[in-house]
């Protein structure tokens, strides 16, 4: 019996001739934060998108809560309890803030429960409540990121995939995003955190994996990786 909510084993993702992910293995422990680090183009997003069901898996397995979900459709992976805040936030710019949450709430099924979750999230992120009727495209980058996270939380996930949540944000906003990551972890949501900001990420992570050229370059204790000068110099640009 394993205590991992996500186990990726020997994952391969290819785009035609390009071998984007090569035999990557990683795990997220129950209640833990696994950091997935690496430079641009190292295969982080391809890995996460494959876990979410949005990229074809050429080889390897993805087990979610102990169930083999290799090659499952994104819709079914969400129903298994996984949600994603995707790279680039990908909020629906022409929909209002509240409509973004409503669309994400379609998966809930129970209308009262859906409305309740929406209200709770707008209290939790007051800026979203204040701007509920505004077009999401008019929000600032940080606000859009909060919307992307809130939208992911509509399905009440037990595993959250966060792809580059701090990218392009002002420093205070980056701190706020990492605070949210810790809050969510404390609420018992397991997290796979993809980041380029290695310093802050390694502080919140309980386990870390470094990718380079699509393969795992290092994995283990975040503190050890943070202290490894060669690793930092070569892959983390920090």
């Amino acid at each position: 019996m394993t205590d991992a909510v996500l186990e990726v084993e020997a994952l391969d993702v290819r785009y035609g001739q390009v071998h984007a992910v090569r035999s990557v293995s990683l795990r997220v422990a129950r209640g833990g934060v696994t950091a997935l680090l690496g430079a641009n183009g190292a295969g982080k997003t391809s890995t996460v998108m494959a876990v979410a069901g949005a990229r074809a898996i050429a080889a390897g397995t993805v087990r979610i809560f102990g169930r083999d979900m290799t090659g499952a459709a994104p819709e079914d992976i969400v129903r298994a309890g996984v949600a994603i805040s995707a790279e680039g936030r990908r909020i629906f710019a022409s929909l209002s803030v509240e409509e973004n949450l409503k669309v994400a709430g379609a998966v809930v099924g129970d209308l009262a429960l859906e409305a309740d979750r929406r209200a709770t999230l707008m209290e939790r992120f007051p800026i979203l409540g204040q701007r509920r009727r505004q077009l999401a495209g008019l929000l600032s980058g940080g606000e859009q990121q909060m919307l992307a996270v809130a939208r992911a939380l509509m399905s009440a996930p037990r595993l959250l995939l966060l792809d580059e949540p701090s990218l392009g944000l002002a420093p205070q906003m980056v701190d706020r995003i990492f605070d949210i990551v810790e809050e969510l972890r404390d609420e018992g949501i397991s997290i796979l955190l993809v980041e380029q900001n290695a310093t802050l990420t390694l502080q919140v992570a309980s386990h870390a994996v470094v990718l380079a050229n699509g393969a795992v370059a290092a994995a283990g204790d975040p503190q050890a990786i943070a202290n490894d000068a060669v690793l930092r110099e070569a892959y983390l640009a920090a």
Partner: protein, 295 residues
């Protein structure tokens, strides 16, 4: 003055049909990137639905409802039988698939019903006209305008107010992200086809009500104009499709009304020249589609 008002009514009536067809094309394109060349055959099938219902003694309004229902069934069947297997294929492969579907349906219409026009006899009152002051207005064009406006308003409400409607708008922006939020792709796509079927059916209703017959090519020419309308408005943009439909309808009616007799063989050429001129000025169309959040 009355001449101008009458032409205006003709323009809105014809533009309304183009707008409904263009909107059906746009809603499917915005979500599955399919330029559905067989959209005209959905409209034709709706026309035959009306024809057969009348032959079997349905009252006229019931026949029109069945016509719309038939178009919806055809649109959904097309998606299930031909396009679902092609999901994710590139635009050209989808386009060619739709050509094949269109050809198959035309041959079926020719061989099972008739290659020639079959009559649709609706109450005489529907093809009469009424007067407001000095202006004589046809009942047909009036029905056409009312149906078009009701469809457009209904669709707008659906897209604005319902969660499924919001999901359709979201899908047009970023379909993959929508699936990542757990929304079932199949349901969204089927809804898009069903809506395009309702609109094509409504277009069949007003088209047959005014022309009084159905033939295997009935849907072809109006849908050709609707294609032009979607490109003019901005491919994949819903507002653009509606605007493009009304603009193409207006240009067509104006060239009909005001062009000297000698130039009338060049009417379509003049309409298309206007479209090309508009696209030279605005290459993405009058109201370009919002591209996805992904850069």
């Amino acid at each position: 003055m009355d001449f101008v008002v009458q032409q205006l009514i003709n323009a809105v009536s014809l533009g309304g049909v183009y707008a409904m067809l263009a909107l059906g094309l746009a809603i499917v394109f915005s979500i599955v990137r399919l330029i559905n060349f067989a959209h005209g055959d959905i409209m034709t099938f709706g026309g035959y639905g009306i024809f057969l219902s009348l032959v079997f003694g349905m009252p006229p309004l019931g026949a029109l409802a069945i016509g719309i229902g038939a178009a919806v069934v055809m649109a959904l069947a097309m998606e299930r039988a031909a396009f679902r297997a092609m999901r994710g294929a590139d635009v050209v492969a989808l386009l060619i698939t739709s050509f094949a579907v269109s050809e198959i349906l035309k041959v079926l219409f020719q061989n099972t019903i008739s290659p020639r026009p079959v009559p649709i006899s609706l109450p005489a009152a529907w093809s009469s006209s009424y007067r407001i002051g000095d202006v004589v207005i046809g009942v047909g064009p009036s029905i056409s305008i009312v149906v078009a406006l009701l469809s457009l308003a209904g669709l707008t409400l659906f897209l604005r107010r319902t969660t499924t409607g919001m999901a359709m708008r979201a899908a047009a922006e970023d379909f993959e992200m929508l699936r990542l939020l757990g929304v079932r792709a199949g349901r969204v796509v089927a809804t898009a086809f069903a809506i395009s079927g309702v609109l094509a059916g409504a277009a069949a209703v007003v088209w047959t009500a005014q022309r009084g017959s159905v033939d295997p090519m009935m849907g072809f020419f109006p849908v050709l104009k609707a294609f032009i309308a979607t490109v003019l408005g901005g491919l994949g943009s819903l507002g653009g499709a509606v605007l493009g439909g009304f603009v193409v309808g207006a240009i067509e009616v104006m060239t009909q009304a005001f062009l000297p007799e000698a130039l009338s063989p060049y009417r379509d050429a003049i309409v298309l020249a206007c479209v090309i001129a508009a696209l030279l000025l605005r290459p993405d169309g009058l109201l370009p589609a919002r591209s996805g959040a992904r850069s």
